[in-house]
């Protein structure tokens, strides 16, 4: 029986011969040492060395993307980019995400042989499922809790990011639930600041949401940002649950994978994974980690939703990257019969009725959250018209009707297209 192996794909840039550079990566992250030591036997290397599975040259590079790289002592020093695939035997670290991280994203980004090195993708063997629970609710569970089927969950966010009291937050939520949104989230800057304590905010917001649910039958999902220390997060989760809430939100980079695993084991609610800070990993093409790789770690740890930015967003991320991330969230991480650990991608940032059609075309699915702030609040007909316009835009997209045609019979959509110019 072949041992399960873990595979990682990197983009690299180096002036060293590609085979040598790839071997350096594998050595640094497995059995290798700068100076060969007596314990590094052939038998040990055979059992534990990382293997170079593939090297695909991507062309020559004129100048180094990052400072601090070295040149080979002799021979050709043409700088090249390449895609490199390495694999490791699971016996090196076992199915442990923290130790996996030290292996695939540890010291190697500081290696002198490289003027660029970015983790692009990971393929984890299913043995990780023995130890990690993956998403508890995912797409289906989130649909069940919101009662929204066959279309995106229309969401929005509490703004301003910080400064509102619990009562002012609840007032804002009142307007949003009355406008017909399916989902509302805290801003990632708002967790438990002294001016807006978590418990008081959740109690105030849930009174509004529960009241609206009693009157209308529609329970809006509120992602309460419980980011904090571990004991705080667990007790905040319990408060949300006690108040009848249906979602919690945590900033992934702020809490780390082990804390997420603890939260997942404790949680009876979907976990909305906020990726703020991901720009530090993802923005440079030459260093860090793609969101495609990154989100797999968090899905396994237990998130149910995660942010992917949006088409034509107001941040710096290009559309192809947004779409690659979003599609990945809906792509199984493991082959059947194992669970795929799919999670709901959350589109946000500058989203309006204009982005429904291109988002559907690129994603090929309505299994997403589509969150708009200004795209709802700034609609000329008011927030309720803003929500209706978004639903009309998605209905048109799914029906294959051009949005301009659909707008002829949908005044809210027509107004949105006028207000939110391309």
């Amino acid at each position: 029986m072949t041992e399960q192996r873990l595979t990682a794909t990197y983009w690299i840039e180096t002036a060293f011969p590609l085979a040598q550079a790839a071997a350096t990566m594998g050595g640094e992250q497995s059995t290798g040492t700068f100076v060969r030591v007596p314990g590094e036997t052939d038998e040990l290397r055979e059992a534990h060395a990382a293997l170079v599975e593939e090297i695909v040259e991507l062309g020559e590079v004129a100048s180094p993307s990052l400072p601090g790289s070295g040149l080979p002592k002799s021979g050709d020093a043409t700088r090249r980019a390449a895609r490199v695939v390495l694999s490791w035997p699971m016996s090196n670290f076992g199915p442990s995400l923290p130790n996996l991280l030290a292996t695939v994203a540890g010291n190697l980004s500081e290696l002198k042989a490289f003027s660029g090195l970015k983790l692009i993708d990971l393929k984890l063997p299913p043995v990780f499922l023995d130890r990690y629970q993956g998403p508890q609710f995912g797409v289906a569970g989130t649909r069940q809790l919101t009662g929204v089927y066959d279309r995106p969950i229309i969401g929005t966010i509490i703004k301003p990011s910080v400064g509102l009291s619990p009562e002012a937050t609840a007032d804002q939520v009142r307007g949003l639930v009355e406008a017909g949104v399916d989902f509302i989230k805290d801003d990632e800057l708002q967790s438990d600041g002294p001016h807006c304590p978590f418990d008081a905010r959740v109690s105030a917001v849930m009174r509004v949401i529960n009241d609206h649910a009693e009157r209308t039958g529609k329970k809006v999902m509120f992602a309460a940002n419980l980011t904090g220390e571990i004991d705080e997060m667990l007790s905040r989760h319990d408060h949300v649950l006690a108040e009848g809430g249906t979602c919690v939100m945590a900033s992934m980079n702020s809490i780390g994978l082990p804390a997420m695993k603890v939260l997942r084991a404790h949680s009876q609610l979907p976990i909305h994974g906020h990726r703020n800070g991901w720009g530090m990993f993802g923005r440079s093409p030459a260093i860090g980690m793609s969101f495609v790789a990154y989100q797999k770690l968090w899905r396994l740890a237990g998130i149910d939703h995660t942010h992917v930015n949006g088409i034509d967003n107001k941040f710096c991320e290009p559309n192809d990257s947004v779409i690659a991330s979003a599609r990945e969230c809906l792509t199984p991480m493991f082959d059947a019969p194992h669970p795929g650990c799919e999670v709901m991608p959350v589109f946000s940032s500058g989203q309006s009725a204009r982005q429904a059609a291109p988002t559907f075309a690129a994603l090929g699915s309505v299994d997403c959250m589509f969150a708009a702030g200004g795209g709802i609040l700034a609609h000329p007909g008011g927030p309720a018209a803003g929500v209706r316009a978004l639903r009309q835009a998605w209905d048109a997209a799914v029906a294959g009707v051009p949005v301009a045609d659909a707008a002829r019979d949908a005044p809210e959509l027509a107004a949105a297209l006028g207000a939110f110019a391309a």
Copy 2:
């Protein structure tokens, strides 16, 4: 009474007027929204907005360091670098490291106005000490446990990184303690892999260390890599303690700040904070976080030692960055009478007797760990001579004697200088 504020310093690169760019950063990370919303009152902004404290222009930049940045719609679009200092009222987030992180290192690195944005430094108000314990042992406690005073703690690492069985690890430790090292650490790739389980490894290693301590009175400090899930880390800590061990090691990026806080609260041993993966944050000058800022978060959370690379190291980090990091570890984070939370910097990577004098000159202190692998094992006279040479080199550095002069009366040092050429 003025409220305590938190201050963050950034390096930025932008084609927008600097004052406007800095205001965008502050707005995104406090009260601002892309579209001004009704709740954003003047009163709320006054109480909660981030303030731009300082802008220092650093000169013009020919082309954008990172892709995806935008240009101003009108006016001058000269691209400039600058240092920008922002401050936040503590009432926005309270003394919470996870929420601090979402504020100072969250979405802002994805802002379109910037073609570079890196967190350079943080100044945390002492109110954080109400909630975080800081280092338990630090420099003084580590010296007490090792019995090493008035000179650096001479350390080394178990190599190969992975593949040794518990017994093979203990055999290697036997040679190292007999050679006279003060400190030995696991490799960051080795925690609890199936071929070398943590508990068995620690038991085997501690038998050797305890036996040596009984015979010689010298208890070598072994930093056992307990990186893993939270319950695993706590139980591994207890095993180290039960076996008479005096240190545990955790990979900071792998576990996250909340897990470190839990480990610190539980620990009766110094925590060796391994920074593997920091290259993803630190290597690009245009994105991420300096180690000067980064290590403050972890010191507050409770580490006692942390890695700073070494002078003329084998990775890509330049010496000025290494020294800035190391000095910062010994610089108080808070003014007296608050504790300074100083931690021991750990020099490593390609270190030998040659680096003692320049390291001492730059650090101005012997309060450090000085770790060598090949610099000990590959000494022509064997590992014991390697350790002696390192101590001779540091003695000379502290006495102000040029290393070549000192080598005349110190054959091990002379041999080291011959073997480890510049």
